[in-house]
């Protein structure tokens, strides 16, 4: 290969102009590094939020009773007692697009186990609930349909509750008292962590919905029913079917408004996506600015050295270099700098991203497309501004290049 001999020349030239080479590379390193770092972190937290939304459940639909309005004054959602256990049972039995249904009767209560006590959220749910919410048991069993029928006083503890009340001891089979009603612990949930909003999802006790309704609540108010559609595609259909069923069951006339609200996980997801999208956009903008700053840095260094380089090119041409010899050398030089700078930028960017990710507890998602774009951009700037003056100089007569000021 004829151009091979210019690799050595280019390397020597880089070594001889150490400061210039370093500053050029620094521009590329800053540009590439910051883009990779910011975007990887942005995408990482986007993935985190998405994962948390996903962990809410599978194809989750949340039905809440509507707002009561008395003489024109509206209460909040759930203030109207429009939903019932029967609604939940009907949805479970009749709707093809729905995979599971569970009423959720929530009560805040003080719980006592031996000498320990803890205030937590008690949720009365049906056996389908773990499937709907993607819950898994780390120990024991979940209650079954029979427990609902006989209003068994059994409880499944969230990880936090189990830790607080039993601090490492095995809670299975022991008795706890919720509002002075004794319950037998039959299971412990696997930890789920915090929600995106910072709520501890493990600070909960699950008991049969009927038990909750009749032992801890007023025996009739069901504010929330959760359901899960058969598939992501069935979400729309499930919503429509639930709405139709509830309207019939609630005997609503055509002109009457729904006395309930259905929210889907898709809605929540799209909201989260919007938020994280804004975040990523912001980070991308910052990254873009750093890329630009890096690019301007490269450009400056290259342009400042034009005089020196033009004279060097004049000398080389005077002793017999052809235009294409000059171009080959300078192109190789620019490419070596870009590759080195790009490589270092990638290493540095990823290093900082993973370091910050560890400190902040966010994931890091590496996007090869972004890396490629950043490297190509910086390399492009480096090659253009390294190569363009060389091209101009190589087109001059040797004497003009030598006299260049």
């Amino acid at each position: 290969m004829k151009w091979m001999k210019f690799v050595g020349v280019a390397l020597k030239s880089i070594a001889k102009n150490r400061l210039r080479s370093l500053l050029t590379m620094l521009g590329i390193i800053i540009g590439v590094g910051s883009v990779i770092c910011l975007i990887s972190l942005g995408k990482g937290s986007q993935a985190d939020i998405q994962r948390q939304v996903d962990s809410m459940g599978t194809n989750l639909l949340i039905i809440r009773s509507g707002s009561a309005s008395r003489r024109g004054v509206h209460g909040g959602a759930g203030t109207q007692d429009s939903l019932s256990m029967a609604d939940a049972r009907a949805m479970d039995k009749n709707l093809a697009s729905v995979a599971g249904v569970s009423p959720v009767i929530s009560v805040q209560a003080q719980v006592i186990a031996g000498a320990a006590n803890w205030n937590t959220r008690i949720q009365g749910v049906s056996p389908g609930y773990p499937l709907i919410r993607n819950l898994e048991l780390s120990r024991g069993t979940f209650f079954a349909g029979r427990d609902l029928k006989v209003k068994s006083k059994v409880a499944v503890l969230g990880k936090t509750v189990a830790d607080e009340l039993f601090s490492g001891q095995d809670p299975l089979g022991t008795r706890i008292r919720i509002r002075n009603v004794p319950f037998k612990v039959i299971g412990v949930l696997r930890a789920k962590g915090q929600t995106a909003m910072g709520t501890d999802q493990d600070d909960v006790i699950l008991i049969p919905s009927t038990t909750a309704l009749y032992r801890l609540s007023d025996g009739k108010t069901v504010r929330t029913i959760m359901a899960s559609a058969r598939s992501p595609e069935a979400m729309e259909q499930a919503m429509a079917e639930i709405r139709a069923l509830l309207r019939i069951r609630h005997r609503l006339r055509a002109e009457e408004r729904d006395d309930f609200r259905i929210r889907s996980q898709t809605e929540i997801t799209s909201m989260a996506t919007r938020i994280t999208g804004t975040l990523t956009l912001l980070l991308s903008a910052i990254a873009g600015v750093s890329l630009l700053v890096g690019g301007i840095g490269i450009m400056n260094i290259m342009l400042v050295s034009v005089t020196e380089r033009t004279r060097e090119i004049g000398i080389r041409m005077a002793v017999g270099a052809r235009g294409r010899d000059i171009l080959t050398q300078f192109l190789i030089e620019a490419m070596i700098l870009s590759l080195l700078g790009g490589g270092l930028g990638i290493v540095l960017g990823l290093g900082i991203a993973f370091g910050l990710g560890r400190i902040m507890g966010t994931s890091v998602v590496v996007d090869p497309g972004i890396i490629l774009t950043a490297v190509l951009f910086s390399a492009g700037v480096g090659i253009f501004f390294g190569f363009y003056p060389a091209r101009k100089a190589a087109a001059m007569s040797p004497i003009n290049a030598l006299k260049y000021e």
Partner: protein, 237 residues
């Protein structure tokens, strides 16, 4: 044997709207083995002439035959080849690559010849530097050399491809009188080896070493005489 032939060579520079005739229909012949000194007042066109002879610049009109080959019709790559193989050029300002050792500077023309860089090119660069008396300064960079030494490196670089001609534009212009003498005797030695030498100088002291003096004024040759003719006689029209 004719080595350089110029026929009606002209070159005009246009600065603003006032054209300067740096070379005005110059016709001359230089034979192999000659040692020619080019003289003339400042601005008389000496550098312009040397640049054209050295294929560093092109004439506007006229013909330039180098070793019988018409150089005026060559393209850029062919001119680069001529500069590389046929001509060694020595500048007033040395024009060495900075931060580059004497050896590498002398090797530079070989990089652009089929030989390339390697053991042989190094060998030849060492020989050339030995010829100019700098065998002890191979690894010195220009900034570590005196002006005279730098100019000798530049002469070694001009020598390294064994050209038939060495052109030098005021090679001693930046040197003191002692080093000037060193450099000029070096040229004389090279001339005795059969290399044709054309050099520009302001000093008639130096011109004495030449065997022919060409004097320019306003881009024309006004005097052309052999040193043997003694000062004052004219031999061209």
């Amino acid at each position: 044997m004719k080595i350089i032939e110029l026929k009606d060579v002209s070159k005009t520079f246009v600065l603003g709207d006032s054209p300067v005739k740096a070379l005005d229909r110059v016709t001359m012949t230089i034979c192999q083995g000659e040692f020619v000194a080019v003289m003339g007042t400042s601005g008389s066109g000496k550098s312009t002439l040397m640049n054209v002879l050295g294929c560093l610049d092109r004439a506007d009109t006229g013909e330039y035959l180098l070793e019988g080959i018409n150089v005026s019709r060559m393209d850029r790559d062919q001119l680069a080849h001529v500069r590389n193989r046929r001509i060694g050029f020595v500048f007033q300002g040395f024009n060495l690559l900075p931060r580059t050792s004497a050896l590498e500077n002398v090797e530079l023309p070989l990089l652009y010849s089929p030989l390339g860089l390697g053991r042989e090119s190094r060998q030849r660069a060492v020989e050339a530097l030995t010829t100019v008396g700098l065998a002890q300064r191979l690894d010195h960079e220009p900034s570590q050399l005196s002006g005279g030494q730098q100019q000798r490196v530049a002469i070694a670089r001009a020598l390294v491809n064994q050209p038939a001609i060495i052109l030098a534009d005021e090679p001693t212009g930046n040197l003191d009188s002692a080093t000037t003498l060193e450099v000029i005797t070096l040229f004389q030695r090279l001339n005795q080896r059969g290399i044709t030498i054309v050099l520009v100088t302001h000093e008639s002291e130096m011109a004495r070493f030449a065997n022919r003096i060409i004097e320019l004024a306003d881009g024309r040759i006004i005097k052309d005489r052999g040193v043997g003719d003694a000062f004052g006689e004219e031999s061209s029209p």
